[in-house]
Amino acid sequence: MFTNPQYGIFVLISATLLTSVVALLVAVPLGLMAAIFLSEYASRQVRGWLKPILEILAGVPTVVFGYFALLAVTPILRLFVPGLQTFNGLSAGLILGFAILPTIASLSEDAIYAVPQSLRQGAYALGATKRETITNVVLRAGLSGIVASIILGVARAVGETMIVTLAAGQNPTLTLDPRVPIATMTAFMVQVSGGDVAVGTIKYKSLFAVGMTLFLITLVLNIFSFWFVRRFQEKYE
């Protein structure tokens, strides 16, 4: 099953890296924009329908996202992206981005909402515009929570299984080309455990190695986010 067995787990890690980066490129800007829009600009009515939409997005089963990527997004993207294959990291990553967007948006919004009104007033009193107040003061004050939300989004992207298994394929290849089939760590685990794997074989053991690596990555991300929040959180009385 390994086309390049000598690369070992790095084939899988590169695939996870690729889909996660694509996902973050979608989810961080959109998620932050949604959070800023919801907390600073949206009227009560707009908030009233936009927030539920985000929550619905969070509640969509990832298998639905996965088939959507495979059956809707990839065919459309193929019109624009030459050389895009049926299974590819690009559409998997894009849709993965929408799957983690609600996490980033809602946790960032909480962080922005928690910024004391007195700080905003302090900026306005200096003649700051709304945009200057948001970019220079509000986002800076909410930074620790915003970064924590992004790290949580990364952890979700790394651990997400259905979307990447369905849309990115199960073909371990060492590449950062988003147009070709790849197998992420999670997709590999699905593939291996889906067939009958004899106990004690290399494949069987590799399942644990990949699982352990996934666990470690998530653990490190969580420790980092914990440290970051502690280090950069501002204490307001």
Partner: protein, 267 residues
């Protein structure tokens, strides 16, 4: 903003003409008419809830941030109606600085706390020099000169408040509004802020809200006494009782309510 009165440093900064202040349909303060002299310290005193902050926050239109807040009547600054359609509140606030009740330094370094306002106001000069000058003017330079890179939140409350004063004067406003600037400070910090105000009044018009009457007598030239009375609807409504030189308010006020309040005989 356009200022059509060349008489800077003399005469009147603000004319407040027959103003009423509302939050939605609730009339929080009524009938305020007074004029604020340039380069003097004017104190607003009165029991809490009588509308001192509400009135103060209209001088730099900070109440625009509260959607329900609005005002009837006229406030002019150097002859310009500050609620006129042609007046941009952003420009107004660049000329009318404010210091708040609770110190609210930005979660940035001490240096950046000063530089931020200057930068957004298009300051092109030497930033290091401006930071030092502003911190010196706010009498806090010696205490923070070795930790300019540290967070503005890492210093004591009294230092934070002086940092906020430094931040306000860094953009060289003409007026400084201070809403109970010492209420969160210990007596020593309070003293240093009061001394600072005496220095600043040579260059700035200062309006200070305080509910500490000793503070009003110590620092101010003019005093406005506000009071509140119950309305039929059940809420309280603030109004201006008396406005006169501080000496007069505390020694020979015209109104009995003022006399009762300044002598401490007050409910």
């Amino acid at each position: 903003m356009q200022t059509n009165s060349p008489a800077v440093g003399t005469g009147t900064a603000f004319y407040v003409d027959n103003t009423d202040y509302y939050y939605g349909s609730f009339q929080a303060v009524r009938d305020v008419t007074l004029d604020i002299p340039e380069r003097k310290i004017t104190a607003f005193i009165g029991p809490s809830g009588c509308g001192k902050s509400t009135v103060l926050r209209c001088f730099n239109r900070l109440n625009d941030l509260i959607p329900s807040a609005h005002i009837k009547g006229r406030i002019t600054y150097r002859g310009v109606d500050i609620y006129d359609k042609g007046v941009d509140p952003i420009d107004l606030r660049r000329n009318i600085g404010m210091v708040f009740q609770k110190p609210n330094p930005f979660p940035k370094s001490i240096y950046e706390n000063i530089a931020f306002g200057a930068r957004i106001n298009g300051y092109k000069g030497d930033m290091d020099e401006l930071v030092e000058r502003s911190l010196r003017a706010a009498a806090i330079w010696d205490e923070v000169k070795d930790k300019l890179k540290e967070s503005g939140l890492s210093i004591s409350g009294g230092q934070q408040q002086r940092l906020c004063i430094a931040r306000a004067i860094a953009i060289e406003p003409q007026v400084l509004l201070m809403d109970e600037p010492c209420s969160a400070l210990d007596p020593i910090s309070t003293r240093s802020v009061e001394e600072l105000m005496q220095e600043l009044k040579e260059r700035y018009t200062i309006i200070i809200v305080t509910h500490n009457m000793q503070q009003a007598t110590r620092v101010s030239d003019m005093t406005a006494f506000f009071n509140a009375e119950p309305t039929e609807k059940g809420g309280k409504q603030g109004y201006l009782v008396e406005y006169a030189p501080t000496q007069t308010i505390f020694n020979s006020p015209q109104m009995e309510a003022t006399q009762d309040y300044v002598s401490g005989r007050f409910g």
